[in-house]
Symmetry: C2
Subunit: 153 residues, 2 copies
DNA sequence: CCATCAATTTAGACATATTCTAAATATAGA
DNA sequence: TCTATATTTAGAATATGTCTAAATTGATGG
């Protein structure tokens, strides 16, 4: 794996976005963190050592980064939006029980499976959101099953 | 297509959820409406004729219905959550330009494509979220294209 | 190095969305 | 009917997100 800082620099370069200290800190935190943080968590983390970003700046940067495709807002059960660095494509898994959002390796949909459903719409990207029991929750409740069986995928 | 009221009755029955007047009205509205309404829109619609549901009740019922799987919270770019009746499985399409959320016909993932990505996680369900230009927006900007081409799916 | 311009940041006020609370009401089952 | 539980309610309280106007920063050209 290449060094994170180099990867972030490349991402800013490719997106043609000024890597200001605050904006960089937001993306860096999202790239390092596993938790798909809320704006508030990002605010706290970025300012942990040294208060140097206001709330408005966190929101401003989340928007500019999202617009550039470097971060993604992920489906959040609660009310606060959760954000995810989007440096590499990936799918998501959300635990029904504990709500954790996990990244899954990317795989393409096989060619042709979605064409009919999409009709004539122009497609720019897609992601699959899986739900079920995460490994941690499954361990504590090994016999839990989906109410209706889901086809093997 | 069977009558909606019968379908709603069956859904409540299957979910073992009391079909109170207010709860029924929320699900009925979501099932009829195409707009993936916010809590506030549901509140306004349900009370249009006759004020008979408070905001708290709308939220309470959205939660109980979501927990039972009869409605789904769909990814909302803005801040107010949007809800969708989930009586039949379907995927979603979100327009990059106008933000509209459209339902797409369901299709299964081909067997085996996701197994490796899921690891040992227990799967209860999944959905695919596609993004791009809806038919209406495409019509007004026919030459728009994805910046990086997306594989045909 | 300086002047200039546009982008960014900031604090805090503001607006909106959601949850909570405690009392009232409705419903199912005995 | 009686009882226990679930649901509903209005409004207060909280959480989340946006806006504003002034200050700061960084890039560019002279």
């Amino acid at each position: 794996m290449s060094k994170l800082s180099a990867e972030l620099d490349r991402a800013f370069e490719a997106a043609d976005l000024r890597p200001t200290a605050q904006r960089y800190a937001v993306l860096e935190y999202l790239a390092k963190s596993e938790i798909h943080a809320t704006a508030d968590e990002i605010f706290a983390a970025v300012n942990f050592n040294d208060p140097r970003a206001s709330r408005a700046t966190i929101y401003n940067n989340l928007r500019s980064l999202a617009k550039a495709g470097l971060v993604r807002e992920v489906s959040s059960e609660g009310k606060a939006a959760r954000y995810d660095a989007n440096l590499h494509p990936h799918h998501h898994f959300i635990c029904d029980k504990c709500g954790v959002v996990e990244d899954l390796c990317w795989f393409d949909l096989p060619e042709g499976v979605a064409g009919a459903a999409l009709g004539g719409r122009r497609l720019s990207n897609y992601e699959i959101v899986f739900r079920g029991g995460c490994l941690r929750c499954r361990k504590s409740h090994p016999i839990t099953r989906a109410r209706r069986p889901v086809q093997n995928v």
